[in-house]
Symmetry: C3
């Protein structure tokens, strides 16, 4: 079976499209690329002459930069478009903008967009590969993959782990991609947060909703706090940040319920003292910055897999 | 004559500076470069080590990106400055900013500016080559060249064609460059649009003003709709977009007056349902996205011709 | 002694950290790199595969572009972050943002920040080299080095020169770095400007405060006007720009007090007619644009010295 495996995806839109074998192949590829970023000369010629467009409709430091660093370390040419500079300002539709980009023969468009489903929509209109770098409250697959890579490096496997996600499940594309990924890889996923941050039928995604943080993190191998997505809420769903921190913030006292060697994770950027106490973010078990390092490696793997072996893909 | 022809221009400011031989040479060069963008490795070393500055005072997706893609596919180094990040905010004059750029030894500055004549002004103060990427209501020569390339690919030659330009002639630098180019190449150019969008003495440029769209596109080989340049008007020159669409929008019914194989063109971004119906923009004869593809090829040719053969230019 | 000299600095935070030997070594290196920018192919492979992040919290044309051009002419990969696109908007602290950047394994972060000391703070939290591209009212060391390079090219040496700095000493990081550098290299530095632009104990930095511009520039070899740092003042410290120009602006009449061959300098961007008359800025003795040219060379030298010879640094 292993001998005949072939990565077949032209686009990376969400975790549900990936099989367990796909995910393991991406993570293995990422591990093999990781050391490039530690070299004195951080550059391989793999994607020389490829045109990659970063098409970001929402502000982003780490994801945009992570993809751009990944691309340039593979020797691709990168081009950036933000909502502020794009023709969206001139009233052009998303599809027209995308078709215009396509006409310039890019190999790959990496898109972040405020509307769930925007990256999937583009795949129906253009020929280039698409990677979803976050769409509305839908998914952020490269984030889930870097999280899985980080957990796997520390725990060997994701299968059988107890993983707790705390916070704003409803508005978090990171949560959606992670719940799909973790359960697919065999983990037991529990979530907790204010009722306004939960969505009905979360169990359909494979996660169990707990009524307290303590219950969710009981005996957990991994505790992941999510960001309060302030910019994605239309009305105040929580009474105050202070009250949120008191009932749902991850602190040392609460962490006593988890396994002693539990990993502490956060997709960043952290609201310190809200989702997580500083001594937890910076302390024992925290792998928050390793997540960022692995982000570059996972994205190098994704770029390579969708672009670097064109002959091998059955389209 | 052909043997002794030499491209002699250091700057590309407008179409009037180019001879018929120059235009044909640019278009031939562009055709020879076009296939590079279809390669798996979209990169040639021609302009390696050249410094190209994109100096954009107005927002732009396609033109800025098109030049940047053209430059990187030729292996040049590109640098971007926008009005938002430039020292214009600190009260510096355009000439001082340009002289400061010049002091960093760029080979080429590509400039878009809201004031007609700004690129020409710069040529009197700096040594680098200048390409006008759109100045006020004056000219946008690379757009006219990509339009001519597209027409030539479909019709073989521009000479003798009937070309209709519909819409905002007065405020459109695209229209000005195209009228100059099309008439120079031997086409018969007619224009139509609201009276407030016409300029006196358009006939001096070589175009005939028609009183209706139907008259302008009668028997036309090419129908080009122009964008409503909303951001460039100080007061409302048209009663409403709806009325504009009714009297001047290109639709299937109106197109019956043109030749059956007429090309449909638009410089983009399109205001769908205003200048053009969606079924026209996306339908038979439309070469709107080919215009964008040819834009990269024409810009590769321009960069090559002004930069790539320094020894051959008589300065 | 010369044989055993070695450049030992991982970071460039301010002039005070540099010895006279360091400064001479940087300037000699810059002179050797200067001709690269005059070549037809402006690129050497020295820093290929290095990751350099431009992290600019304040708008800048010339400094950001100068560093980026320097980096690409050395073949490094550059990445830009501005305050507008960074996670600072999402409430992340500077140190968290910096630690996240560090996690992506950059070799060098070039930072401009409104808070004095921000670059120094970062060196305590991250492993990459840091170059201060201007921090608050504190320092701007690469500017002082390019000024010293320019003076040295014209006068042979800085030792023994009479140098006048006119204007806003208190709010100018350029002034602070230059006073430290000029006095360290043996120059006699005099300053003049409105009392609200002076700081107590300027003599501790090595400069003598004069009560009139005429006194400061008497017999000067170099006259440097500083920019009115409008954006860095909280309240109006000068009655009007017109009055400032009258009492402190550099004009031909005032310049009669300086040496006939005095160099005229300004860090740019110039407020023409305020700090300096146009005929002075553009006239005899002005080396303002040479400063910009030397900026690229000095920054190439700094990048090379902090990055290009890792084996040789005793850390």
């Amino acid at each position: 079976m292993k001998e005949t495996y072939r990565f077949q995806h032209k686009h990376i839109l969400g975790i549900e499209q990936l099989s367990v074998a796909d995910i393991l192949h991406i993570l293995d590829t990422a591990i093999s690329f990781k050391e490039i970023s530690n070299r004195s000369i951080k550059k391989v010629p793999t994607l020389k002459g490829k045109t990659i467009i970063n098409f970001f409709f929402e502000p982003s430091t780490r994801t945009r930069l992570s993809f751009e660093i990944a691309a340039k370390r593979m020797s691709a040419d990168t081009f950036g478009i933000t909502a502020a500079t794009s023709s969206a300002k001139k009233g052009e539709t998303l599809i027209d903008t995308a078709c215009n980009l396509q006409a310039m023969n890019p190999d790959l468009i990496i898109i972040r967009h405020g509307s769930s489903g925007a990256p999937g929509l583009l795949t129906r209109h253009i020929d280039a590969s698409i990677i979803n770098a976050g769409d509305g409250t839908h998914q952020h697959p490269s984030q889930a993959l870097l999280d899985m890579m980080t957990i796997r490096e520390h725990k060997g496997s994701i299968d059988g782990l107890k993983i707790a996600l705390i916070g704003d499940i409803a508005h978090s594309r990171v949560a959606h991609s992670n719940i799909l990924g973790f359960t697919k890889m065999g983990a037991d996923v529990k979530v907790a947060g204010p009722a306004t941050f939960m969505i009905p039928h979360l169990d359909l995604l494979g996660a169990r909703v707990c009524s307290t943080v303590e219950e969710a993190i009981a005996d957990a191998d991994v505790v992941m706090a999510l960001r309060i997505q302030k910019e994605r809420q239309n009305d105040p769903l929580i009474p105050s940040l202070r009250e949120y921190a008191r009932f749902y913030g991850i602190n040392r006292s609460r962490l006593k319920h988890a396994k002693p060697d539990a990993l502490i994770m956060h997709p960043g950027p952290i609201n310190r003292g809200v989702e997580m106490d500083p001594d937890v973010a910076d302390g024992k078990g925290s792998v928050i910055l390793e997540q960022v390092t692995n982000g570059v490696a996972v994205r190098m793997a994704l770029l390579y897999l969708v672009l670097g072996q064109e002959g091998g893909r059955a389209e």
